[in-house]
Symmetry: C2
DNA sequence: TGTACATCAGTGAACGCGCGTTCACTGATGTAC
DNA sequence: TGTACATCAGTGAACGCGCGTTCACTGATGTAC
């Protein structure tokens, strides 16, 4: 199962032809769009169907319920997160390291800006204990966490002021996720996006290298 | 309007007597309990009413809808956050500072452990752009943010590696909130609570003092 | 190139259920004398 | 201390609406010859 050519099936197990794939895609897109306009609480199957100009019956050919589409959207979006790992690899020393840190923060915020609604819902569902969402999120985040932890370990072996590298990495991921979700509100309070990126990048760089 | 003796009224504007106050409280408590068991998406007025052994009609005497109770619960919970500001005040130098940082992280996690469900929903609603929840959250968090920013400014005036103090403070708040919401899952991945507290405290201390 | 048939995809219409919401009423509590 | 009345608080019952869900059917596309 390669990431972009999965073998998709409908609710009765039939494989999807090209026309069906397109319809499914439209349902996914509509779901993401509506998630940005409506609260999850108020999102109905029928809204999604209406948005693509089809009937609810069509929806049920592809998805079991609202949760099911939302999960599919989240899966699609989570795959998109662009080459995060390459950004982490290599030396973190000095200015090059700081540039790396900035580029990670930037990429994170861009990704969240493009897919705020879904990512928020993914994280909420995961926090609420929904296993499917939790697994999806772990699958997305854990390579990042592990890479970061590794870098921290490399640079700061034996430094007692780090604590557990994985914990420090988790703290860094927390900054990335929360600020990405939240930076618009902060901008209203007078903290500019650049300030946020710069501060986070510096904290990240510092935490990784100890410099 | 003092924090614990607000003048409460029902939906038609009548002031609440003691019996009514108790009923209202039971509805609030039931709501918080159910939020921990059910996803917000599936929480109905009738569930809350049933939980306290009363009828939906009673519910509507006190609250407009589910959002309205949830907001009231969130308000109650947000007031509870215990003396955060005192924990921040004073010197952050050396071991004393590190102890301060630990105590803040601890207090945060404890508070979230006690009220996970509501706080999560509060933040989601706020992120989704619901103004009432956003204001409530800002009211709760901004004293903390401002105090932290002030301390950072004090200790690190002129240090170019901080970035904007408010942005750094926001990054610290992000760690606190996200890890508090999330530490259980991390524990399943083998990062202990102590590691998390210790790492976060060290990052916090370091960010405030530059040490 | 055309025709017949098979499969794929989409949908109208119907049904029932459960929830939101309201109102007129009952029962409980408080107050005056 | 008891009785009458006023206000407070709670609720049963009813209504309608909208959504979830399914099924039998229609229309579209593909394939064989």
């Amino acid at each position: 199962m390669s990431p972009d050519e999965e073998e998709l099936v409908d609710q009765s197990g039939r494989q999807l032809g090209p026309r069906a794939m397109a319809t499914r895609k439209r349902l996914l897109d509509a779901t993401e769009k509506l998630l940005g306009e409506t609260k999850l609480r108020d999102l109905r199957v029928i809204d999604i169907a209406r948005e693509v100009g089809t009937s609810a019956a069509t929806f049920y050919q592809y998805f079991r319920d609202v949760d099911d589409v939302v999960l599919a959207v989240a899966e699609q979006v989570s795959q998109e997160i662009p080459g995060m790992l390459e950004r982490i690899a290599g030396s973190w020393e000095g200015d090059e390291g700081l540039r790396k840190a900035r580029s990670i923060v930037q990429a994170f915020i861009d990704h969240w800006d493009a897919h705020q609604a879904v990512l928020r819902v993914r994280n909420l569902a995961s926090d609420e204990g929904d296993e499917r969402f939790a697994r999806l999120r772990a699958r997305t985040m854990s390579p990042l966490l592990m890479q970061l932890a590794e870098r921290i370990e490399e640079h700061r072996a034996g430094d007692p002021s780090v604590g557990h590298p994985a914990a420090a990495a988790a703290a860094m991921a927390a900054i990335l996720e929360r600020l990405a979700a939240y930076h618009r509100q902060l901008e209203n309070l007078g903290v500019s996006r650049e300030d946020l990126v710069e501060s986070s990048a510096r904290i990240l760089h510092r935490t990784v290298t100890g410099a």
